[in-house]
Amino acid sequence: MMVNLYPLKELKLPIVAECINPDIFQGKKPAEIEKLEVWEGNKQKKLGELFKAEIAETEDASENTVVVIHGDISRVKRIGAGMKNGEIIIKGDAGMHLGEEMKGGKIAVYGNVLGWAGSMMKGGTIEIHGNAGDYLGAPYRGSTEGMKGGKIIVHGNVGREAGAHMHKGIVKIYGCAGQFAGFRMHGGTIYVQKDCEARTGACMVEGTIVVSGRIESVMPSFTIEGVKKKVKIEEGEVVETPFYLFLGDLTENGRGKLYVAKDKNPHLSHYEKYL
């Protein structure tokens, strides 16, 4: 079953709509879907007051529910929060807390996403074809409950603190990353294909960060371990170019791995004398 959602107006107020979730939509009629409750600003509303729902029966008889949202919904928060199955496709921009604590299924966004996408994620996949905001896959402020599994792919750039407190899973960024990527990481992998701002891997204890582009600087609490010819990101994805391998963060007695491409970072060549 495929559910199409069309915004009825330009959404100006912040909306909290954790009901936009394939698990909840499954087996419901459009009228029932429109009766689900959301918050618009400080008023409780029905989903039908903001969106028009249409159901298109798909031909393949797979049981997955696919939710397609057409239009800009960058004011809508918590889409797909806690989802376990199914798929959400957003043809436009999406708001904060997309796929928060999601456990399975798939979310694809053909646009940009604001902060906390995939926050506290435990499984499933999020693919963002535009840019992502700050705190990608990171927990709520103050919490240490980072990503425990799943995969996030961003084809554009991301903001600060991507993958903070991550324990498991993979974050692939095909654009640039902001400061503090992999802050307090405990495991998992972060791959940044392009450039990376400073303080990457601050306070990390374990896990892997791979930067293929230019990194602004490597923190002084990281120590160089060697040069590697290639790095495996995940099954079937290997980057074949020489990498400096740094270990850290030593202020936390960490053994996290930070790979930085050698060719793009001539300003780090002075580390070679310690090898």
């Binding site: 709520y140 402020r141 103050g142 919490s143």
Partner: protein, 565 residues
């Protein structure tokens, strides 16, 4: 306004009422003999339990460190929030709720009086600002005096009467209610990165021992005729083997008792009833403590029950919080409050599967069940150190039902389960005893004459719970007990219905109680001159700005005490 509560099963231990069906009449915020039946508003409490409003002797709800804890833990709040309604204001929980939410949540459970147990005198104004903003419940706060320089100096010189005059000034100046001692001597030592390890370990730079501080302030407490005893958080708290320190602390004031009147309150006793040499050989010392308390009448204590949840520990015991930080590796706050005390905050998750945490859970319940006299052991979680106060209904269920205890025992760490004394204890508390450990006993220990009972002249603070003891056995239907205590059918505060069916109907301000200690002869001039000089030398706050004036309290309720000095 007149109110008549009809046909409830009334539990009022102070007046010996044990589940009798009777009416309670209320007029002008007080309980009276009778009211005009036609004019009075009636509440039908048939098939329900009627008790005095709950009293909490030890719950950190306001002040500097509570607020720092709120700032430290945004993640504690974001999953537990309350939207504003027509009557109530919005707020957040969970382990360190905002002031409004604190008031509403206590009221929803039928609690109407709460004591904040640790107020650094320097932060008295902050504490009172927050207490004034805590709605519905009546409250008071205990200033921390066990490491206060003046007190240490007077006691060192053996000047008990001068010390008493000074403490009298302090209590009135901070608008406090009782003398609180936290790790006496240890906090002063912590200012220099040290601690004291027994009650006979000398305090650096002062040369006196915790024993002398405890005994000295106990004598001061008696000289001033304060309604509550000294409120003691023992030395070595939270360390294996510390039940010996707790026993020594109780023993050291044994000779100061006159008659059956208690002279010392050992607070959150679970945290100082640890046996064993280290965390691996850790076990319960509840039996030894219970045996001592059963044989002596000069002690009251409260449980400090541990709840399996994510909470925030906060005490004035800086060195203990440092140990917790090293154990947990969590973020933390540590603070040295000038010449007065210290403080620390560490988020902490008590886990069922942890041997130590599960044993701690067991120790508190063992204490509550092994101490025969319920007037001596009161129910608390040391909110939020053992768990948030909203867990009280669960503790009540554990105390009332062996079945409830067994259900939890099944889920805890197997090693802790096999060593727990709980399977050997059959005792189940009745509603009468629950009324003692949650209200009457607490009010009695605090010396609150108008609280914790339903006799004529008492404050009309009443809780009504939807549980029919004639139809249901609380030991079997423990889940129904839990539900009933979670959402009181009615909470009446000062003769007004504030909560109905767990919903707050009315926003009202509770009073802040404080002691106006009146000395036999005023001696202020001499005291002022000395203090002014010292304040200039050592404090960041001027002597003139230090005291909390009465107009600072939203609703002031002074209690006059006539001292013997």
């Amino acid at each position: 306004m007149e109110l008549l509560i009809r046909n409830g099963f009334v539990y009022d231990p102070v007046n010996g009422v044990n589940g009798e069906k009777m009416d309670i009449a209320i007029k002008n915020g007080k309980i009276v003999e009778k009211v005009n039946e036609r004019r009075a508003k009636k509440i039908d409490a048939s098939g329900m339990v009627v008790m005095p409003g709950g009293v909490d002797i030890h719950s950190h709800i306001a002040g500097g460190k509570v607020n720092s804890g709120r700032l430290l833990r945004p993640e504690d709040h974001f999953k537990d929030f309350e939207r504003k309604t027509v009557t109530t204001r919005s707020g957040v929980g969970y382990s360190i709720p905002s002031t409004f939410t604190t008031g509403y949540r206590y009221a929803r459970m039928g609690w109407t009086t709460v004591m904040d147990p640790a107020m650094p005198p320097l932060e008295a104004k902050h504490t009172h600002e927050e207490l004034s903003d805590t709605p519905i419940i009546d409250k008071a706060s205990y200033p921390l005096l066990g490491d206060w320089w003046f007190v240490l100096e007077y006691l060192k010189n053996g000047q008990i009467e001068e010390c008493a005059r000074h403490v009298a000034w302090m209590i009135t100046a901070t608008k406090g209610y009782a003398i609180k001692l936290v790790n006496p001597g240890g906090l002063e030592a912590w200012g220099f990165g040290r601690n004291v390890n027994s009650i006979d370990d000398p305090v650096p730079n002062f040369g006196i021992t915790p024993r002398e501080i405890i005994r000295g302030l106990c004598k001061v407490n008696k000289l001033l005729n304060l309604p509550h005893t000294i409120h003691v958080h023992t030395n070595n708290l939270g360390k294996p083997g510390n039940y010996v320190t707790a026993l020594e602390t109780m023993e050291c004031v044994e000779d100061l008792a006159d008659g059956d009147k208690p002279v010392i309150h050992i607070t959150h006793c679970q945290f100082c009833a640890f046996k064993g040499d280290d965390w691996r050989t850790f076990e319960s010392g509840a039996e030894e403590i219970a045996n001592y308390v059963n044989a002596h009448s000069h002690v009251t204590m409260d449980m400090g029950q541990v709840i399996f949840t994510d909470t925030t520990t906060m005490t004035a015991d800086g060195p203990f919080q440092y140990i917790l930080y090293t154990l947990s590796g969590n973020k933390w706050v540590n603070h040295d409050v000038e010449t007065e005390t210290s403080a620390g905050i560490v988020p902490f998750h008590y886990r069922r599967k942890s041997f130590v945490h599960a044993t701690q859970w067991s120790i508190a319940l063992e204490l509550a069940l092994l101490i025969k006299d319920p007037w001596k052991i009161l129910m608390t979680t040391d909110h939020p150190n053992g768990g948030p106060f909203i867990a009280y209904p669960r503790i009540i269920a554990w105390l009332m039902s062996r079945k409830a205890r067994e259900a939890t025992l099944k889920k805890i760490n197997p090693k802790a389960r096999s060593r727990s004394l709980l399977p050997s204890i059959d005792r189940e508390l009745s509603f009468y005893e629950i009324a003692i450990v949650t209200r009457a006993g607490q009010a009695k220990a605090l010396g609150l004459k108008n609280k914790g009972h339903l006799g004529v002249g008492a404050d009309a603070d009443i809780a009504i719970y939807g549980f029919n003891p004639e139809e249901m056995e609380p030991s079997k239907k423990y889940k129904a007990v839990r539900r009933a205590f979670k959402r009181a059918a009615y909470t009446i505060k000062g003769g007004q219905v504030v909560v109905k069916d767990g919903e707050v109907l009315k926003h009202m301000d509770g009073a802040t109680m404080w002691l106006d200690v009146q000395l036999c002869e005023p001696c202020e001039i001499e005291l002022n001159e000395d203090m002014k000089r010292r304040f200039k030398e050592y404090w960041t706050v001027g002597y003139e700005n230090y005291p909390v004036t009465e107009d600072y309290l939203a609703v002031s309720h002074p209690i006059t005490v006539k001292a013997d000095v």
